[in-house]
């Protein structure tokens, strides 16, 4: 009796989740298969689920039309630098705001949190002028420095602070008795315990940098310096008309390796994040 109810529950569970999964899986499937189709088949109605005669033309042209490998590398190394930098800046600040009492703390926290409230579209013109003054236009510096120190690291600081607040004080007491200084407490006790929060920050930061769209368009002008999202909208013929198959091939190249890495590493990625818990 009970087992039957359980099995029914389980079937319902699989059914509901499978239906819910369609809009998450279908676009990626469609993108990958369509990139193997000629343009006329991409727009065929109703769409074919598999390419009638798969071809790799579009993939070759991705690399002919733009220095796409270089652009891929740009996006990757910028995102990695931004992630490391943000982890350092935000874990320090988050720790201080959560665990250390100092004068003006609340005011300073509010000031920092202002960064959360300011979309980059708002400040892009003054930032452009600023970096132009530094001679850093058409370099990757603005895309690295602004996320690490500016508005987008504020969210990371908030996440870190929220995490450190919930850390029991007793955990640090032992270290304190051993005479550890603040930095040692942060480095040896705080950070190791904060792994889940650091993972969350790392993921969010990496993806934010990886997805940056407006800033590269404004700051970068040489194709060799482009980042991937910017390059994706650049697969056009000489007159600005989109090359749909090449665009989809480039989008697939962008998405699939990252997805693959994610699927392989997801146990550490999602499960690690979920099971150890960012509890509050």
């Amino acid at each position: 009796m009970k087992t039957r109810a359980n099995r029914g529950m389980r079937l319902l569970w699989y059914g509901a989740l499978s239906v819910a999964a369609i809009p998450f899986v279908f676009p990626t499937w469609w993108m990958a298969t369509s990139s193997l189709k000629p343009v006329s088949e991409i727009f065929a109605f109703p769409p074919s689920l598999l390419p009638q005669s798969p071809r790799l033309d579009a993939y070759e042209r991705v690399f002919q039309l733009q220095p796409f490998a270089q652009q891929y590398f740009n996006s990757m190394y910028i995102a990695i630098l931004v992630t490391i930098g943000t982890l350092a800046v935000s874990s320090l600040a988050g720790y201080a705001f959560a665990r250390i009492r100092f004068r003006g703390q609340n005011v300073l926290f509010v000031v920092v949190m202002m960064g959360l409230l300011i979309p980059s579209e708002v400040t892009i013109v003054p930032l452009f002028q600023m970096f132009n003054g530094f001679g850093m236009v058409d370099t990757h510096w603005p895309l690295i420095l602004v996320p690490i120190f500016g508005a987008s690291s504020v969210l990371a600081t908030l996440i870190m602070r929220q995490f450190f607040i919930t850390l029991p004080v007793e955990l640090e007491e032992a270290g304190r008795i051993d005479g550890l200084g603040r930095f040692a407490l942060y480095w040896r006790i705080g950070l190791p315990l904060a792994k889940p929060a650091l993972a969350a920050v790392a993921i969010v930061t990496f993806l934010n940098s990886w997805n940056l769209y407006l800033e590269p368009i404004v700051f970068l002008s040489t194709p060799e310096n482009f980042t991937v999202p910017q390059a994706l909208t650049h697969f056009t013929d000489a007159y600005g008309g989109p090359l749909w198959d090449v665009q989809l091939a480039a989008a697939s190249i962008t998405a699939l390796p990252v997805l693959l890495v994610f699927v392989i590493a997801q146990r550490h990625f999602v499960e690690g994040l979920a099971n150890t818990g960012l509890k509050g």
Partner: protein, 424 residues
């Protein structure tokens, strides 16, 4: 105060200082200078030709160390260029789209070029076709060189027409049936019998409405009066043209509806209206195609051209050098080289022979009827001071026209109500 100091101060966050002088000054650096030109093509063949011309120039002009061609995405071209200007990073030279011409010419952002070009030996400024320079002149001064003057024509897929039992483009023209009424009928027949699209107005896609001027000009309609002060959308000619188009889309299915995509060059439509420079997209495709002038409208035959200008920005620190390079890049010899991609504005080069050498895909007859006649008599696509805002306002209003049960006259008068304040 020099630009550099100002930037340093701005960088330090001293915003007030910035306000004192929003425009950059002309620098007077000694030694070879670096020039930068923004363009919207990222095509390798185009860039190769530009660099070849630039290298030839640098070889003879030690005052210039390098010339960079900086491709910006076409879709965001004007706004990216403006951002660079606002951010004090203006290029020395820029291509300018025809729809931004009034803004750039009248604001004083460009350096006058008449004296420079006219004074360059062997340049022959008078050779420029007057129809091509009109947009780039103010008070008798030329502010940009009409760099790419490309007429709109109709590419035809004769295979699809034959499949649908319709006469080919050449047959239609021979029998005197090359008019909108008949072309739409053929397009509808193609859609009906083959399921492929009939006519595609390329780049229109139910947002780029200025491309529709290639159609409504045949009705004698215009977006606004020649002096730019009176809205033309609610005039009888325009309402008639748009009613015709609306029926062609929603009753005859001669054009794919909103949200449907069909690419002529992939063989998915019978006709497409586009600039003739797109002929290069045809090379590898195996269908029987033709190029014809725009079909006649109720007001007879007409032609429409798109343009780009090449100008020197006042914010450039090396105006003199930049203007000199523009004079070199567009002299008769280089203009002939550029003609393979960009139809030249020079009367002497607008011959079927010259153009034929560099456009092997097109026949002399096609070049004569579409390109040469088109450039001489062409109406330029609509442009106005504050074009971007007007364009966006018209786009938003026209959206309600693209449904099957729209009230055409009503929508057109709403368009005028919305843009009249922007025209004054």
């Amino acid at each position: 105060m020099t630009t550099r100091t100002r930037n340093r101060l701005a960088a330090a966050g001293l915003a007030g200082v910035l306000a004192l002088s929003a425009c950059g000054g002309g620098g007077d650096d000694d030694g070879p200078v670096d020039l930068r030109m923004t363009i919207w093509t990222a095509n390798d063949a185009h860039l190769e030709l530009f660099n070849e011309i630039a290298d030839a120039y640098i070889a003879d002009n030690p005052g210039v160390a390098s010339i960079t061609f900086d491709p910006l995405p076409f879709e965001k071209y004007t706004s990216t260029l403006t951002t660079q200007i606002a951010g004090d990073n203006a290029p020395d030279m820029a291509w300018i789209l025809e729809n931004a011409a009034p803004d750039f010419v009248s604001s004083g952002a460009l350096v006058p070029l008449t004296e420079k070009l006219g004074g360059t030996e062997g340049y022959d400024l008078d050779d420029l076709e007057p129809a091509t320079t009109a947009l780039w002149e103010a008070d008798g001064e030329l502010y940009a060189y009409p760099f790419s003057t490309s007429p709109f024509g109709v590419f035809v897929n004769n295979d699809l027409l034959t499949d649908a039992g319709q006469p080919t483009a050449a047959e239609l023209r021979e029998s005197g049936d090359w008019n909108w009424e008949r072309v739409i009928e053929a397009a509808a027949a193609v859609n009906d019998s083959t399921g492929k699209a009939g006519l595609v107005v390329r780049d229109f896609d139910y947002t780029g409405w200025d491309n529709l001027s290639t159609m409504w000009a045949g009705w004698g309609a215009q977006a606004w009066s020649d002096d730019g002060t009176t809205c033309g959308f609610d005039q009888p000619a325009m309402v008639e043209a748009m009613t015709f188009l609306h029926e062609a889309i929603f009753e005859q299915s001669a054009l794919p509806g909103p949200g449907s995509t069909a690419d002529f060059f992939a063989g998915d439509s019978a006709f497409t209206i586009t600039q003739i420079s797109r002929a290069s997209l045809l090379e590898e495709d195996g269908f029987d195609w033709d190029l014809a002038p725009l079909p006649a409208g109720p007001q007879g035959e007409y032609s429409v051209i798109g343009q780009a200008g090449l100008g020197v920005l006042k914010l450039s620190k090396h105006q003199e050098e930049a203007a000199d390079f523009v004079a070199f890049m567009t002299n008769p010899e280089n203009s002939a080289k550029l003609a393979q991609f960009f139809p030249p504005p020079r009367a002497s080069q607008l011959t079927a022979e010259t153009l034929g050498q560099t456009n092997p895909l097109l026949s002399p007859e096609q070049l004569q009827s579409v390109v040469i006649d088109g450039i001489a008599t062409g109406i330029v696509k609509p442009s106005h001071l504050g074009q971007a805002e007007i364009s966006e306002t018209v786009r938003a209003q026209l959206d309600s026209l693209w449904t099957a049960d729209a009230d055409v006259a009503g929508v057109m008068s709403q368009v005028c109500q919305a843009i009249q304040p922007l025209l004054d």
